[in-house]
Symmetry: C2
Amino acid sequence: MRESILPLDGISAIILDMDGVLYTGNRPIYGAPDAVKRFRENGKKLIFSTNNSTSTRAGYARKLTQMGIPARESEILTSGYATVVYLRKRCPNARIYVMGEEGLKSELKLAGLKIVSEGEAEKATHVVAGFDRKINYRKISGGLHALLAGAEFIATNADSTYPTEAGLFPGAGTMIGALAGCSGRGPSLVVGKPSTHMIKIALEMLGARPRETVIIGDRIDTDVRAGKMAGIRTVLVLSGVCTENDVRKVRNTKMAPDFVFKSIADVVN
Amino acid sequence: MRESILPLDGISAIILDMDGVLYTGNRPIYGAPDAVKRFRENGKKLIFSTNNSTSTRAGYARKLTQMGIPARESEILTSGYATVVYLRKRCPNARIYVMGEEGLKSELKLAGLKIVSEGEAEKATHVVAGFDRKINYRKISGGLHALLAGAEFIATNADSTYPTEAGLFPGAGTMIGALAGCSGRGPSLVVGKPSTHMIKIALEMLGARPRETVIIGDRIDTDVRAGKMAGIRTVLVLSGVCTENDVRKVRNTKMAPDFVFKSIADVVN
């Protein structure tokens, strides 16, 4: 912990993880709307980020706004949108087989990227796998056929589990595991945190340099890790997945967050 | 290849892999009914074996009989039944969460083993995963909850793909991969070939010693490998998955089959 520098000293841009920082499921976390308002009043540029790829950016902007946290679509960064940015830049003519939910497909289509169906999976240049609560054998078969025909395997994110109010549920790691289990190949690229792709894209969207940027997240293994690897300041809040005990485990390691707060309300106070 | 010993010299018991040896999908392979008849006329004890766990032993006996290969239920060994034998012996009071098809559940129930549903998955002592064309998020969630609560992870088999007349489709490795991808744990035991469990159970069912037993299969990576590791004679037929090129690749290695034939018809001629 760097006691000498306050979390937001010299900071012009903030990457805010959403789930576990601003809300739990559909419930805003106490003080989150006020904290975001304060960031804006102080002129901070904001990105609201999530490894979840099941909804579009417009969907997240709506969700936040309805919770009393007004947000614009252009401020939202999902792992699905980050995948879109990556593909649009590197392979604008990609033919993509998607194993993911409608939100991910919509995001890819909105960017003008071509999606191929199960029946023509062999023609895909890329398989994009993300969190998919409607996973089934037919979808997996399409993915297998695309991979066997030589498509590149990209995952929006690799979270093993997905925390809900009813406990842990299978995350995108499940869909990756299913495809890897039949094809014998893992993804050549995982776009979401803890990969630094998400942070790099956030910095581009913010027009900010690493040293003037902070990430506020609730997970050491994704948010803090990605922040550390991208060379930005890291703030961990204990309102989501991680506990004080988790913080103790990484104390004096490279993964120790720069600052730890109970919740986002404490970051601004 | 041991040219000096004919494939069935000194052999009293034969383990016959089914798919790719006796039939392809629902079509018997030319000469298979006659070959099995000849084995029986020569007093050979037979086991019909498969890594597939989706049907019961009774179901396979019916399928073979309808193809002109009369077989008794007691001669059938599926990876599902082998799992039953393993569990009944080691953990007769097991509470099992099944991620597999109805045939696997039926086989477990027939043996008097207790099956727990998704809603009570946390109470499971074991998760048994097998090939499941009806894989879905709810089933995977149950498996995750059982594994997080400490259940032992057993797989009927780990075949990555499943050959059909329409090409390769995802095999049981898919279901294992999905559970491993969310739980972070792989199976502590894989019962089916190439593990030697199946062969050991076959030898018990046959009342035969390894040196008087042969396995006839169509896959080097499962049938031949399991046979070699269990110390029995191995015959590869080229009527299924493996080609002459695959045989060349393992020539002069430990995995070289003792004998290679075009099909089961040639084994008896």
